[in-house]
């Protein structure tokens, strides 16, 4: 017995995905090339869109995966809440989850992957599958939600999700200056972002107004001054460890404390551990033995 019934829209989405032929779900195409190009002749489908349920006192929201993230944010803003997804114009909720790339605020707000509580997806055989559960805390069974985030739609096509929401902070401020990023991180209690290009640091503070002001005062004493926002991120994401190891051409921006850096010129990354590659292959074989879901995209090739 399934205790959770899918709505008509999800049933239609599942029927559209069907059980045969290459198929991919398309969102806003903002990160469509991440992890490789979708194979030609792949049928494209769109996930349902719109807010399906929101009770601010639960601090969770049920939303179609095809919903633009800016539309979701506008609904949440009215209740003084937000989700931990990047507000990328044009991007859909499902697309951002499928790519799984953190916002620049991951240092303070946490990882994007933890935003997802429940996902209803269409499996390779056309069946609807529910992963996770609707509550903020849940260890019922294996954590398929974490597996879906960043899977580029290669294990299942997500139609609807429940996300955890957070209060919008009352105050926020960006600062910039020629500071030491390690010192800044050590001295500030909980900055939401520290970015460093090798010379200059950008730091974002958020929280209660008086705390932001006090932390900003501390940052100013370390050489920062108010800024309008972060610099543009270079195009390619790489692990910070690789940045340390080698000289490289172009510019970079380190997202301090998250292991990620952005570089203007891509460089080859080390091959992943063969045991990790084998696990990826076995997962794909279990979830999509026919290779019909989003062919051409490879999560291991995503950066």
């Amino acid at each position: 017995m399934a205790s959770r019934e899918a709505g008509e829209e999800l049933e239609s989405f599942a029927a559209e995905v069907g059980s045969g032929g290459p198929v991919a779900v398309v969102g806003g195409r903002t990160r469509w090339e991440v992890g490789g190009a979708c194979q030609e002749e792949t049928r494209l489908v769109r996930a349902p869109a719109g807010v399906r349920g929101f009770d601010p006192a639960d601090m969770t929201i049920r939303v179609g995966a095809g919903t633009p993230v800016t539309e979701l944010d506008a609904v949440l803003a009215e209740a003084g809440q937000r989700v931990n997804l990047p507000l990328l114009p044009g991007a859909t909720v499902g697309g951002l989850l499928a790519v799984g790339r953190d916002d620049v605020h991951a240092l303070g707000r946490g990882r994007l992957r933890d935003a997802l509580l429940e996902a209803v997806y269409v499996a390779d055989d056309g069946r609807l599958v529910t992963a996770g559960g609707p509550t903020v805390k849940n260890v019922s069974g294996f954590d398929l939600c974490r597996l879906l985030v960043g899977s580029l739609g290669t294990l299942g096509l997500v139609g609807e999700v429940i996300l955890r929401t957070w209060p919008r902070p009352l105050g926020q401020q960006w600062l910039v200056g020629p500071c030491d990023p390690v010192e800044l991180r050590r001295r500030l209690f909980s900055p939401s972002s520290i970015l460093w290009d090798g010379h200059t640091v950008w730091v974002h503070l958020e929280g209660h107004e008086s705390d932001v002001e006090a932390e900003a005062e501390l940052a100013r004493s370390l050489g920062c001054s108010p800024a309008d926002g972060p610099p543009p991120l270079p195009a390619h994401r790489v692990p910070t460890g690789e940045l340390k190891a080698d000289g490289f051409p172009g510019s970079y921006l380190v997202q301090v404390g998250t292991g990620s850096a952005y570089v203007s010129e891509p460089f080859p990354l080390p091959e992943p551990d063969p045991a990790v590659v084998a696990l990826h292959q076995r997962l794909k074989a279990q979830f999509d033995p026919g290779g019909r879901l989003n062919p051409g995209r490879d999560p291991l090739a995503a950066s």
Binding site: M1, T135, N138, F142, S190, H208, L279, Q286
Partner: protein, 483 residues
Amino acid sequence: MRLRRTTGTDPLVEDLCRVLPAERVRAAPLERSIMGRDSSIFEGGQAGPVCFPISTEEVQGCVDAARRHGRAVVPRGAGTGLAGGAVPLDEPVVVVTTKMNRLVSLDADQRVAWVQPGMINLDLSRAVAAHGLHFAPDPSSQQVCSLGGNVGTNAGGPHCLAHGVTSAHVLAVEVVLMSGESVVLGDADGFAPGLDLRGAYVGSEGMMGITTAVAVRLTPNPPAVQTILLAFDTVDAAAQTVSAVIADGIVPAAIEMMDRNIIWAVENFVGAGFPTDAAAVVIVEVDGLPGGVEAEADRVGELAIERGGRVRRAADDQERALLWKGRKSAFGAIAQIKPNYYLHDTVVPRTRLAEVMNRVYEIVDEHDLQVMNVFHAGDGNLHPLLLYDRREPGIMARVHAAGSAIIEASLAAGGVLSGEHGIGIEKRDFMQLMFSEADLDAQSRLRRAFDPDEMANPGKVLPTGASCADVNALEKVPEGVWG
């Protein structure tokens, strides 16, 4: 691979003794009998040889030996699990990681530590305290539970409301798969390309491999903390205040609720100053920078007073510690009332708390039992404690019937089976109430990707029928395992 049970343990034990010194391979009936249980109510598990490795290589050797002899493997930490996840079925090789208990490395600037799986949860926080850091997940058993077990169950605790459960604090896990291979899932720096194998593994209850090391994210100690005790004349008013706090845009570090019976028991036990005339108390802790903490503590007090609550703010660290001592002594305090208890663990949407609690009271009345509630109200994580004396004839049937009804009531309110204890044996056969056949099939596929032969901790989490090897194992479960 078909998991089979061999008679006599000598060839297997001999093989294991080639991997480990003989004193760390225990096969005597008494030692196997001790490992037949965990902290759940399930009795009658059957352990095979019990191994105490001290390195990843030794764990690999144990797995290889088990595989050669067609035995399943059950990883075990401190054995504090409450869902029977570590109860061995069908004489598997039990691999106990408690001797792997070192802090391997600490990078205080990056706030990352590598730890071995046998390290005790609270020992980690103590070890990094000098750096102003702690490990945020704090299960009630944190003085005795191990970090490997925390990973296995994706453990929670009172302070996971704002900071998230174990998965949010694990950056990477070194795992020995049932092939004998050792693999690192995730990345200690935080950047791991590809699928989130780390996330899929955390909470897998020992069914995907054996944790041999964990890279944990450490949390800076907050500069300011306020702990507030709210007392209410009705459980409804307490539950409504919890919802009101969340709806007001406050995410405290912790919101814990205790009802009348447990208040009395705790007060009698440790004298924490809880008002024994209250129907419910709520402990709210807000932490962070001083401005936000003061504002939120004031607002929590206002919301409580608006709902008829009385407010007491801990004046200093000593009083704060006393309030928490009261909360964390709850389970010990119960022994004054009944010798046994069954601790349940379900989650409901926070807006349905009052309604489900009232239903819990009705259920225990219908089954002529006593209940106490002490739980993580802020995230809707109920912990009804059913009290009983196991010597009373027929009592277990009533305890189980009431427990089933509580689970069903939680699901009916849009909740889930478990918030932090896991599924184990306890709720395995309830999984079909929450998940469809297709949902369970997907979970089974995830497990098989990690453990194609279903050799790791068979018979847990996935209900009978979800996998062939598990069915084979369960046919041989002795009478009495199900309590």
